[in-house]
Amino acid sequence: MFVMSCTGQAKPAVIAPKADSSLLLDIVKVSEGRYITVGERGHILISEDKGASWRQVEVPVDVNLAAVDFLDEQHGVAVGFDQTILLTEDAGETWTISHQQVSNYQPALFSVLYASSDNITAVGSYGLYLETNDGGDNWQVREITSLSDVYDGFSHFYDLEKRSDETWFMAGEKYIAEANDIGEEFSKGMVAVTRDAGKTWEKINSPYEGSFFGISVTNGDLYVYGLRGNLFHSEDQGGSWKKLKLANEAGLHDMLITENNGLVLVGTGGVLVHKQGDNISVAKRSDLKGRAALVSLGNERFIIVGEGGVETYDANNEKKASAVKGQ
């Protein structure tokens, strides 16, 4: 099915001095020292000095952008509301609209995977699933019926991650997994897998009745996390899950695994949970502004984006600070 791009109403993003303190939702490392973050009002910002300073670039749309991904140091994709898909071929300096569909409902794309030079796949609200197999010339909307709920409806797909060229994972909002005769419904957080680069999807055993906001994938491990600080770990492709206790009830939006195999998660209320073995520390932004995503700068230093814009975060300083406080 072909979808005509309707770009008539697109307004370009306004270049604003305070764009770096606006709501930013995703961040990605493009090349050594170069980072790109995207967020509300079509904001795309580039740092070439590991997050010390940020420069907003021209973007042809001003809708909220929720996710960004890069194939290599030059080719990238950003997605957001109105099914907007933007492509860049010059490391993020210029962006063109590859696809957009404006409607009064809320067809939003929340996560994107630049899987190969041909395939880009984006997922979003109410089971929205868009893919291209010719590098963005043509986009197809697919209904992944295997991931629907008991009433054939869809929940929101929030995060799409890749383990290998063929194996990808997806996490999302809770969906109604069962309903009985007396109208009782039982929901589960969405976790799904494809082993053929998106051609077919299947649900995998979900450990939680609430929503998942993200999934993190390594060669051996799977982590899913979301509402109320829930974090689950699986060592067998989702066959079985273990709940990791974090002493935190705030929703978790993003996670990364440090070079020391520690886990760092960020989320609602500006929470930052650092788990190193059995050691767990929980810190919050003093203004409680939510944190949406993070990347590692190495040596326990991160760039975090969220409601307060961009910040660089040094976990070593925090440890020192809390050590001083503890004395």
């Binding site: 409607s103 939510g290 409601e307």
Partner: protein, 873 residues
């Protein structure tokens, strides 16, 4: 000099019945003194603002719904650590109760941590939860726990930086004042319709300020670990009027110095006391008449009586000089007084009349406080004509001079002659040419400096008060600790009924808010779409990816359903939504940036909306030639402009776009009826339900909104005021000298001094404000006196056939002493203000001292030099 034709008249009307006249003056003075005892200080907020200005129309229209600019902030500071302890919360509750009890405070608009309308909301698995920031169980539960809950609620409620300082060391009570309120003490009476008659009384700001000051001392005495900071217009006006009382002290000093100078000049106690007496009589009359007319005295114009006194003494010196001179010539005192009176009544009258007119031009400025100042000053100067040109010579005629005094006067006049001889060189070339060149250069320098003169308040805090005054220190404290302050400007988004339920309306407001947020000098902004975004995020389980304006028009109303009108973010019909913009300061540039941004957003937005409609024309008339489409567009464009100017104020007053277009274009010669039908049906079907340009952004309420209007009114008034004052002065000179050349000689030096005075304002960083604008008019009006006194004599000598320098020499002999003295007494009378605790008084003092002294120099040097060029033989 020929004997004055007026002498017989003056003698028969005035001096032959001098006893009667003095008695009349005494009786009137007694009556006026009675009125003066009734004088009250009259300060009001509305008087300070240009009510007719476009922005202030918005302000007046919405002040009841959204509160005007008249807020008071009481901030309690915990001296050690954070606010989370019992002592602090008790103090805050107590202060909150006191504030609510102050007469004139709008109790429904008092906000603090304890207000029921201050609530938080959060997402949970059950949906949204919310409650008051201070939980109901606050009193019972473990305090440690309770305080940490309150702290969290503060953050969730988004009131950090607004009701609690950013660092949690201070909390605030914010209150709105009524400009008038129902008098609770009044006895209830019924009006003609059997309704309870309303007993509205004006809020007494000075009283409010004193009650707030009592609050401060009481709380600080009872709670030693708490410091209170109070800001807001009412407090400022209280401090100003307290400070204004100190002018009595400056008056006494000026009085003493003036008395000493006049004594040194006249060498006679009698001659010293009489002009001081008549000038004081003038002040009594002035204040008496003011009270009789129903005015009070505003803290802003409290200096005017002192200015009148100084002007009175300066004219009195002229009169003494005249009498002395005549006595020196051998006249009897009685005849000397008649001659002096007859000789001075015309130039003195003209001079005082020009002062009066100079002040009256201030009536052109549509700010009541300046108008009152103008009335106060005009009355005073007009009264001086009676007291110092008539009463003073009458009184002088009773005096008696010993022979020795007459001799010493003659000797002194002789000894001064060598000085006057030296001065008269300036009326002869080449010296005259040099002086004129210097004058031109000064004029150019002045022009260059005046170009850079700034409008408005150039410094943070209340400009009426010194930077280090307690009020301004409190202001500094609040702006540093909070994200808000008194420097707020609210722009009102007017739209259709239920406007907040339409996505493109909310999106426009949101875009607008973002543009404002990015302006330099904007500290923070607040509006309804922001709340909608937060709630939408919370509705989606707190996922930040959903923190956006819901496009779905079923969801959008849901996100704002819980926002109450008491937040000040919407009206009950949801057709007006303010965008509050908190600024770091209220410097004129900051205000201009914000106002400029509002205007540019308006016009960009209108252009974008128009182009949408034009695109629609292109698509729906696709079959027509493009030239035909252009015809339709060019007809449509002005109609769209007209439509966008319509106000949404009356909910049903604004027609739908298609109706309006039909109305405007039916019967058009270029658009056929069918085309019009096609056009309107396209408009009806294709445009969103919220229509074409659905939002009208209106400036402005909030304290800075008022300042923006005031700055614009002051800037706009400056030119016309100067033109009028110069027209008046020129006309009076023309009438009294009957000479164009003479008028030029008198007026040109004034122009140079006016320019220099404006340049001085640039260099001293004094902005053009409600306080300094009148000073420029006063300076010109009074500054012309010297020129009139000098030239009225000089022109007589020139017409007798003397050379300009001879005429000038003779004039100086007659009046040189007096002119120098006039300048000195005036300058001294106002220079003591420079030390006032009130900044605007100090500014006025600097400006007036400068203008009086330099105008005198202009009259002594530049005037004769110009005359020597214009009266070349």
């Amino acid at each position: 000099m020929a004997k004055n034709k007026l002498e017989p008249l003056v003698k028969s009307i005035l001096f032959s019945k001098r006893g009667l006249w003095v008695a009349v003056f005494a009786a009137v003075t007694a009556i006026m003194a009675y009125f003066v005892s009734q004088l009250r200080v009259d300060a009001s907020f509305e008087k300070n603002i240009p009510l007719k200005h476009e922005y202030m129309q918005t302000y007046l229209q919405y002040q009841d719904e959204f509160g005007g600019a008249n807020r008071v902030f009481v901030a309690l500071e915990a001296k050690q650590g954070e606010i989370f302890n019992n002592e602090f919360f008790n103090a805050l509750k107590e202060a909150d109760d006191i504030v609510e009890g102050i007469e004139g405070v709008n109790q429904s608009q008092v906000k603090s941590l304890f207000s029921p309308s201050v609530r938080y909301i959060e997402a949970s698995e059950q949906g949204l939860e919310g409650g008051p920031v201070i939980p109901p169980e606050f009193e019972q539960v473990d305090k440690e726990q309770a305080f940490s809950k309150v702290r969290e609620n503060i953050l969730k409620a988004g009131i950090r930086g607004r009701l609690v300082s950013n660092d949690f060391t201070s909390a605030m009570i914010s209150a709105q004042l009524f400009s008038e309120y129902n008098d609770p003490d009044a006895e209830l009476t019924l009006d003609g319709n059997g309704q309870v008659a309303s007993q509205m009384v004006k809020t007494d700001y000075v009283k409010v300020a004193h009650q707030l000051e009592t609050l401060r001392t009481d709380i600080e005495a009872k709670y030693p670990n708490i410091e209170v900071h109070i800001i807001g217009f009412a407090k400022m006006i209280g401090d100003v009027s307290d400070g204004a009382g100190n002018v009595i002290f400056f008056f006494l000093i000026a009085f003493l110095i003036t008395a000493l100078l006049v004594y040194w000049y006249s060498r006679s106690i009698k001659l010293t006391l009489l002009p001081l007496l008549t000038s004081s009589v003038a002040v009594v009359w002035q204040l008496g008449i003011l009270t009789a007319l129903g005015y009070g005295i505003d803290p802003m114009s409290i200096l005017i009586p002192f200015l009148i006194f100084a002007i009175g003494v300066s004219h009195g010196v002229q009169m003494i000089n005249g009498v002395q001179h005549n006595v020196g010539k051998g006249f009897k005192v009685y005849d000397a007084a008649i001659a002096a009176c007859a000789g001075l009544i015309v130039p003195g009258g003209v001079a005082l009349l020009s002062d009066t007119i100079g002040f009256l031009t201030l009536q052109l400025i549509e700010i009541d406080i300046i108008r009152e100042l103008a009335i106060t000053a005009s009355i005073g100067v007009a009264v001086l004509i009676l007291t110092n040109l008539i009463l003073l010579p009458l009184l002088l005629s009773y005096t008696h001079f010993p022979q020795s005094f007459v001799k010493s006067v003659q000797q002194r006049e002789k000894s001064h002659e060598k000085w006057w001889g030296k001065l008269s060189v300036f009326a002869k070339r080449p010296m005259a040419t040099v002086i004129v060149v210097v004058g031109i250069i000064l004029g150019l320098i002045g022009y260059w400096g005046a170009e850079n003169m700034k409008v408005g308040d150039l410094h943070a805090g209340a400009p009426a008060l010194k930077q280090n005054s307690p009020y301004n220190l409190d202001t500094k404290y609040v702006t540093e600790k909070y994200s808000i302050g008194t420097d707020v400007i609210s722009i009102l988004a007017e739209t259709r009924a239920d406007g907040c339920t339409f996505y493109n309306i909310m999106e426009t407001i949101d875009d607008f808010q973002w543009q404002l947020s990015n302006i330099k000098g904007v500290q923070s902004t607040l509006s309804l779409p922001q709340i909608s975004k937060v709630v939408n995020g919370l509705l989606s389980e707190g996922n930040l990816k959903w923190k956006m304006l819901p496009k779905d028009e079923a969801v959008l109303p849901y996100t704002i359903a819980r926002v109450e009108t008491s937040t000040g973010l919407l009206n009950s019909g949801c057709s007006v939504m303010p965008i509050m913009v908190f600024l770091t300061d209220h410097k004129a540039e900051t205000i201009e940036r914000v106002v400029g941004s509002v205007k540019s957003f308006q016009s960009d937005y209108l252009d974008a909306e128009k182009s949408k409609v034009m695109t629609l024309v292109d698509t729906s008339f696709g079959s027509l030639e493009s030239s035909e489409r252009e015809v339709i567009k060019s007809e449509l464009a002005p109609v769209l402009d007209g439509y966008s100017e319509l106000s949404y104020h009356e909910d049903d007053a604004k027609p739908e776009l298609e109706e309006y277009v039909t109305d405007q274009l039916s019967g058009s010669e270029t658009i056929s009826e069918d085309q019009l039908k096609q056009l309107t049906s396209a408009l009806e079907d294709e445009l969103p339900a919220s229509g074409f340009k659905p939002v009208k952004f209106r400036l402005a309420t909030g304290a800075v909104g008022v300042m923006a209007a005031t700055n614009e009114a002051v800037a706009a008034a400056q030119m016309p005021m100067m033109i009028w004052v110069y027209l008046a002065v020129t006309l009076l000179c023309l009438i009294s000298f009957r000479s164009v050349r003479g008028t030029i000689c008198v007026v040109l030096p004034l122009v140079v001094v006016s320019l220099l005075a404006q340049a001085l304002m640039t260099w001293l960083e004094i902005g053009l404000t409600v306080a300094t604008l009148p000073v420029i008019a006063l300076g010109v009006g009074i500054g012309v006196d010297y020129g009139i006194y000098i030239f009225s004599r000089m022109v007589g000598f020139i017409r007798e056939g003397r050379s300009v320098s001879e005429a000038y020499f003779e004039t100086l002999k007659l009046t040189g002493n007096a002119v120098l003295f006039t300048g000195l007494t005036l300058a001294i009378g106002v220079s003591t203000w420079i030390f006032s605790a009130l900044q605007y008084q100090a500014d006025m003092g600097i400006m007036l001292t400068f203008m009086f002294l330099v105008n005198m120099l202009g009259a002594i040097f530049l005037l004769p030099a110009l005359a020597s060029i214009f009266y070349r033989r």
